[in-house]
Every structure is written in C-alpha cells, then in structure tokens.
Symmetry: C2
C-alpha cells in the first residue's frame, strides 16, 4: 500500500514520506523468511512464494475484532505471511455482528499451517461441544509451530486438551465459563496475553491485537512489531501483564 | 453473548458476573431507539425491529481493521444497530490482506442507511477515480444522518465534494495523497479523529476504533461508549486531539 502511495505523493511531503517508507519497508524486509524459518524451525508451507501461512479458524458467531485485529497486524507483513480463512464446512461463515466471511479452506482441504489462530465469540459455546470441530481443530493446531487464541477461542483450544499443563488466559467477562472448559490449564486471570511455548493466548476481543504484535515480536523481532503498530497507527500495549480488565471484572482484588 | 454466558457461569463467580452483566445490559438498554431516533432526528430505517442501520461501504483492497474495528464496537450495540455490508457491484469483496467479505447489498439495492461508513486501503487509489463508485457513494452518504470515514476513506468522501468546507482528518502515513483529493476541506494533521456536523473522519487504520466509540458517545451517550469499550476490553483513547502519529510522521513539529 505504502509504495503505491508514493506515486501520488507531492514533492512537498516527499522527504517525510520517504522517511516513513524507509521505516515501513525496513519493517517488512527484516530477517529474510528462509533464514527466519530455519532459525525458528518453522516449516515454510509456501516455499514457492517464500511466505509462512497464517490460518484463521472461524465458525458461526465468531467475534469480528478477535479475528480481524490480529489479521490486520499480520496483513501488514504481507511479504512474510499469507493469510487463509478456515472453517469446519460450507463456503461462508457469519460473524456474531452479522458480516459474512468467505472460507478459503475447510479443515479437510486446508494446507499445513504455520500459524493457527482461533477467535472467540458466542459460537465457541457451540464448538466446545462439537466433536467434529474439536477433532479437526486439534489436529491442525497440534501440527502447527505457532498457535494463537483470542478471547474465548482459548476455551476451544483448552477443550482439545492441547493446553494441558500450559499457562493461558482468556476473556475477562466470560472468564468463569472459558476456564471451566479445562482444569488442566494454568489459567492466569491478570494478563493481556500469555506466551507459553508455541501457544499464545489473549484476553478479550481487542487484546488479540496486542497479542498479535507480541507474536510478531517473537517471530520477527520487536523492531518489526513496533513498526507494524506504527503503520497501523496503533498504540501497542506491549506489556503482557498490563491488563486493567482483570480487576475491572472482579477477577483480582 | 454475555447473557448466553450466564447459563454456563458457576456460582463462585456469579456475583462478579452479574455485576458485569448489569454494566453490559445497561450499556445496550440506554436511550430507547424510538426516543433516541426522534431526539437526534434520525430516520429509523428498520422501524420493524427498532434498530438503526449501519452500512459499511467496502471495495477491493479495503483495509481490514478500518472496517472491522468500528463494526466490532457497533456490533456490541446489536439491540440498537443492524450492520450491513455494501459494495459497488458483485457478491463479494476482497480485502487488502486477503480475506473475502460477502456483500449484503450493492449501491443499487441498498436500503436507506442511518450511519454510512467507508474504510481506507490501497483500493481508495482506484475508487477516487471511479466515477460510478463516487456518484453512488455520494448519494448514499448525502442521504445519511451520520457519515464516518476511516483512514484513507476520508480521501474518497473528500473527492465526492461532501466534505467541502468541513474539518476532517485522515491516515498520517498517506496524508499528502489523501489530502490532495480536495483543497476545499479543512484538513487537520494532528487529530485521532474529527467531528464536524454529521461527518466523523479518523486517522489511520486503528484510529477508526477510537472514532467509532466517539460516534457512539455522540449518538448514545459517553457512558454507553465507555461500556462498549469495556466489553471489548479496549482502552479507549477518548481524546480526539491525542494523536501521536502526526508528529511521528513529520506532519507537525
């Protein structure tokens, strides 16, 4: 997007613009994907285009920002990451707020995914009891080098058993329900997001944006995460322990 | 979503939960839509269900968070607002990052809209030169009681002439290009968002979330906006003049 803009820029602001472009371009050209892939031991499933594949798993009643906040941040790294939308079946999925998203793949047709993500939303109340969804999602997440959940998406991952023995967090307004999906997870009430091995879990709705930048920092370096946040004009809460909503919702004193 | 959660809540957290629910329910039950509609002189296009209609106008290459940040916030007010997705033609629209969104209406089939919104994205570079899009979008926005633009969506609205004589802002990284679409707009370089009459215009990408909460405050009261932000676990930058990205991008000293 930014390089296209330069065609339209007037000379008056060209210096400012080029400065911005340098930052943006530096952000997306850090750590070439090949060496990055090897260094993190990540399989590169799109070797032909040199990108990693991020698969967002959606379902009827997913929460919009849970999915599209993180996808915005990774979308800015389009030179490093391809985004695909995955569902259990059918061709489209309706969000909790109404907008309908087209699926790129179902669980049965999806390629191997480097970064598996799942949002929350009212639909999680159904999917934690949907054995077909849980089995297919567990297989996809188990095979992925990185797995990230947003909001009550943590409850679905917990229900698969993959979070057993791991630390994790989830939505603070639906905390009791989400954490009740597994007593084998080290649930952390006061956390914007939690990193534990390959698993990144976030608090509610907008927290997925901060977690996504944390995952970008983990994979591409903090400079890249900061530059992505700046391109999105987003003031990143980069402290995973900075979570004002745990106390607001009575989870801590 | 929250009321459903209550079915799953355990008694241990019921008191906390009910407190949260009270806040959430209070948020969405303030100012009944009928009296609200009359008080703001807003046509209620969905009288049968007592809701206002928010129409998000999308196009190939729209920026994900520009659209879905504001739709998340208004989606939490689902008792007051229905969300529809509108495009120029066809059945789907592909975002800049890849995900494909289904259209509910085209410009020619869309109902009257109470709140018209348009995101930014690389596709705006095409639409500012698309007379068919500009003419139909201008008619939709001209007839709407509220019009909000995110990021370089401001450039498209400016190109229609509807912003002539109004104050507005836009993306700070693409500021020179966006503001070059009209010299009759009072462009403000340092602003998270700008309110001028029925027009709400925001800075880049994530700024649309802060503007959307500002629009909710304008329409439903600030208490409702604060409660919506809390449900989304979002720390709202509620000061339209608090814009760190103007200086970062060299637009002010």
């Amino acid at each position: 997007m930014k390089t296209k803009v330069s065609l339209d820029e007037n000379s008056k602001s060209r210096r400012t613009f080029l400065t911005n472009m340098t930052a943006a371009i530096t952000a997306i050209s850090l750590s070439p994907i090949s060496s990055f892939s090897q260094s993190l031991n990540l399989p590169n499933r799109n070797a032909q285009n040199g990108k990693l594949t991020l698969g967002m798993v959606v379902f009827e009643g997913f929460e919009l920002l849970d999915a599209f906040g993180p996808l915005q941040m990774f979308g800015i790294l389009r030179d490093k990451v391809s985004i695909v939308i995955i569902g259990e079946k059918g061709e489209t999925v309706k969000s909790n707020a109404g907008p309908v998203l087209k699926l790129d793949y179902t669980f049965s047709t999806a390629p191997k995914i480097d970064i598996v993500m799942i949002p929350g939303g009212i639909g999680t109340r159904r999917e934690v009891n949907n054995e077909a969804f849980l089995t297919a999602f567990k297989a996809l997440a188990d095979a992925a080098p990185k797995v990230a959940t947003i909001c009550t998406g943590s409850a679905v991952l917990a229900k698969t058993g993959l979070l057993d023995g791991h630390k994790a967090t989830t939505n603070k307004l639906a905390y009791a329900w989400a954490t009740s999906q597994s007593d084998k997870v080290g649930w952390i009430p006061e956390a914007r997001w939690v990193e534990d091995g390959k698993f990144f879990t976030s608090s509610g709705i907008s927290a997925g944006i901060d977690m996504a930048l944390g995952l970008i920092a983990n994979m591409f370096g903090k400079d890249t995460a900061v530059r992505v946040a700046n391109v999105a004009e987003y003031v990143w809460n980069d402290d995973p322990l900075n979570d004002p909503f745990a106390k607001m919702n009575g989870l801590i004193k």
